[in-house]
């Protein structure tokens, strides 16, 4: 069979492009597997000690005020009583109260400011972005396309979508960045009467948390700080008497959610093997069906004496 110009180009494309991609992507994937989650240079965060919290909800009111959001009164029209984080609630105090009378606990829920944020990993347009210095994950209005991937990828279910409105927003705690710029503390920590939630650099907070565990043996669950390693590490740290999972803080293991998915995702694309196989398979299917179609058309032309229109 003679080598035509057309066949040559098509064959080069068939083999060369996947090979070139395999070299670039494959080596990247190898690199990526060994990378560790970097901690931002001046990572700031919160330390919430559930065993000190008295559930006064001053932080909930202060949060709404600091972020200039109207209090959520959709419950009864009288109280700022959101049942969960939502499009106007960045911070909430919840109550874990088991029926069997075992110890209950309050829990403050807000963005964990993950070191490796799943919301930012899931965002196709980098509308959610982790500040390389402070590590605060912020949402940018003019980049958001409203796909809501962030609300799905976040293992803590923190970013919330504004379901009403023509230009909906994604709402999450941004550690009151606008207040930090003015040298103020975040709204929640500025009003906490018991110091159950405090603000500071992550390293300082971590040391403080460990000191508390050391000073109060047997007080804290598993004698560990939630967020030191969980989900690759978070900048909001938790101490609690009751199991973290009871407070809605899932045990995710030390590997972050994006790292876990990325590991598998990169394996799929390693050396571009799987896409190449898929591509070859598809080419075969198309060739076969095209051949059949041509044969059929030829047959029909022979029968009718008219050229097939398709």
């Amino acid at each position: 069979m003679a080598i035509t110009r057309r066949a040559l180009i098509s064959n080069v494309a068939k083999v060369g492009v996947p090979a070139a991609l395999a070299v670039t992507v494959g080596t990247d994937a190898l690199h990526a597997e060994t990378e560790s989650v970097p901690i931002p240079s001046i990572a700031v965060g919160l330390l919430y000690d559930a065993s000190i919290c008295i559930g006064c909800k001053a932080c909930v009111a202060a949060c709404a005020e600091a972020n200039d959001t109207a209090p959520d009164i959709r419950g009864d029209g009288l109280h700022q009583a959101p049942s969960d984080l939502n499009d106007v609630t960045r911070n909430i105090i919840k109550l874990y109260k088991p029926d069997d009378g075992s110890p209950s606990s309050f829990v403050k829920r807000q963005c964990m400011q993950c070191l490796d944020p799943a919301c930012a990993a899931g965002c196709p347009f980098q509308a959610l972005h982790k500040d390389p210095e402070t590590g605060i994950v912020t949402w940018t209005e003019n980049k958001c396309i409203g796909c809501r991937y962030c609300t799905i990828t976040c293992p803590y279910h923190i970013p919330r979508f504004q379901w009403q409105g023509y230009n909906p927003r994604v709402t999450k705690c941004e550690l009151c960045s606008q207040r930090l710029e003015k040298g103020l503390q975040p709204g929640c920590t500025s009003v906490c009467p018991t110091g159950a939630v405090i603000f500071g650099p992550r390293t300082v907070l971590l040391a403080e948390a460990k000191q508390r565990i050391k000073n109060n043996p047997g007080r804290y669950y598993q004698e560990r700080v939630y967020g030191e390693y969980d989900n690759g590490g978070t900048q909001a740290l938790y101490l609690s008497r009751v199991p973290f999972a009871k407070l809605g803080l899932p045990e995710l293991g030390p590997e972050s959610v994006p790292a876990r998915t990325l590991r598998w995702q990169r394996r799929l694309y390693q050396y571009f093997a799987l896409p190449a196989v898929l591509y070859v398979g598809l080419v075969q299917v198309i060739r076969k069906s095209l051949a059949g179609h041509e044969q059929e058309a030829h047959q029909r032309e022979k029968e009718t004496g008219l050229r097939a229109q398709l």
Binding site: I73, I92, R300
Partner: protein, 403 residues
């Protein structure tokens, strides 16, 4: 005694004990802990000293369309000393209810008070002023109220509107407002005016205001409705003794029901506390703890607010501005909304319609494909027919050809 002795001199001369005076100053400190330069001094004796050095301010008190409730409140202070003290601290030169004189004598007293202290006296106005039909609905010494207030205010150092009527019209201005009643600040211009709305206002607000003005020589900070912030900055709801019941969602729903007897929140009975700026919840009337509407189990009527009293229904509830969290908590996990039958049926119907339409379309496509083949076949027959008709027909029937 000189015409204008200092307050301390006058009190001494009239036999008021220093103890009573210091007590009054203590009450003053409690009335306006912040917002007055007068009460910035930390101790009661310092305040007493500052006030004692001041000359007694001349006060002219005018009544227009009123019920005299504001004056009565001042006189009905439970400790008998207090009313006397207030009247001794200020030099009340003209007051229709309290003065013995009447007729021409009273009018002469007013004129002499005006000329004697022109530009220095404080004018207190009680009651609204009728403006319709050139103010014919109220006359004082054969002069319309409109004219009297303009004349007296023109020589006053400051004007204080005592009560809701003088502040914004009050009950007289309720629909249909037959007399065209308005407050003082709608008529008097070019003078410092302070409104002390309330039906009635707490007399201590007046005392604190007058003393601040004469001792410090300036008026306290006012809000947008010219109410002194020391008494009108916060809404009653913020300091309400029943607030805990509001936060817990415990409401009295009818007078005399269990919640009402237990002292629960009166919001659902039409309490206007959440929108009413006044210090009633912290400074009760007549020096008796609990003597104020909400303390007696009566919803706040919103008497200090122009748009509330006489404008809103008695049992109408007000919106909550700046709602705060209740004392209940959401659980860790909130139940996700279940699927309702209607929604499931709707989704099912849509899915069924799409599936059905696809099936029908595929059937039509198949039949049209067959029709297409048929057409091609027919075309072929037609082509052959054309071919054959151009040739002479030899012994061939059309039936045969079609087969």
């Amino acid at each position: 005694m000189s015409k204008h002795p200092t307050i301390a001199e006058h009190l001494e001369a009239s036999g008021v004990s220093r103890r009573s005076f210091v007590q009054l100053c203590g009450v003053l400190l409690a009335t306006a802990p912040v917002g007055l330069s007068l009460t910035k001094d930390k101790s009661v004796s310092q305040i007493a000293q500052a006030i004692g050095k001041t000359k007694r301010p001349s006060v002219i008190w005018l009544h227009f369309q009123d019920c005299t409730g504001c004056t009565e409140t001042l006189l009905r202070t439970s400790a008998p000393d207090v009313a006397h003290l207030i009247l001794d601290v200020i030099s009340l030169d003209y007051h229709e209810t309290l003065m013995a004189a009447s007729g021409a004598q009273a009018e002469a007293a007013l004129q002499s008070a005006i000329t004697a202290n022109a530009g220095q006296y404080v004018l207190v106005v009680e009651g609204s002023i009728p403006t319709r039909d050139n103010g014919v609905y109220m006359e004082l010494a054969s002069k319309p109220a409109l004219q009297v207030v303009t004349e007296v205010a023109s020589k006053a150092a400051a004007v204080i509107a005592m009560g809701s009527c003088a502040s914004w019209g009050g009950v007289g201005s309720a629909d249909p407002n037959p007399t065209g009643a308005v407050g003082v600040d709608s008529i008097v211009t070019g003078k410092p005016i302070v409104n002390l709305p309330g039906c009635p206002p707490n007399p201590y607000n007046l005392l604190a205001l007058v003393l601040e003005y004469v001792t410090m020589g300036k008026l306290p900070e006012l809000d947008e409705f010219r109410r002194p912030k020391f008494a009108y900055e916060r809404v009653i709801h913020e300091n309400c003794p029943r607030r805990a019941h509001f936060d817990a969602g415990r409401f009295a729903t009818s007078f005399g029901d269990e919640g009402h007897r237990k002292g629960w929140c009166l919001y659902k009975l039409g309490c206007k506390g959440p929108v009413t700026h006044a210090a009633c919840s912290t400074r009760h009337f007549n020096e008796i703890p609990g003597v104020w509407p909400i303390g007696c189990g009566i919803p706040c009527a919103g008497c200090t607010e122009k748009g509330v009293l006489w404008r809103m229904g008695t049992f109408e509830t007000v919106p909550i501005h700046l709602a705060t969290p209740p004392d209940t908590y959401p659980p860790i996990y909130t139940a996700a909304g279940g699927v309702k039958v209607g929604a499931a049926a709707l989704v099912g119907a849509i899915a069924g319609a799409v599936g059905g339409a696809t099936w029908v379309a595929s059937q039509r496509f198949e039949s049209s494909r067959e029709a297409g083949v048929e057409r091609i076949t027919t075309d072929r027959a037609y082509a052959e027919k054309l071919k054959s008709t151009s040739e002479p027909q030899v012994g061939k029937s059309s039936d045969e050809r079609e087969n």
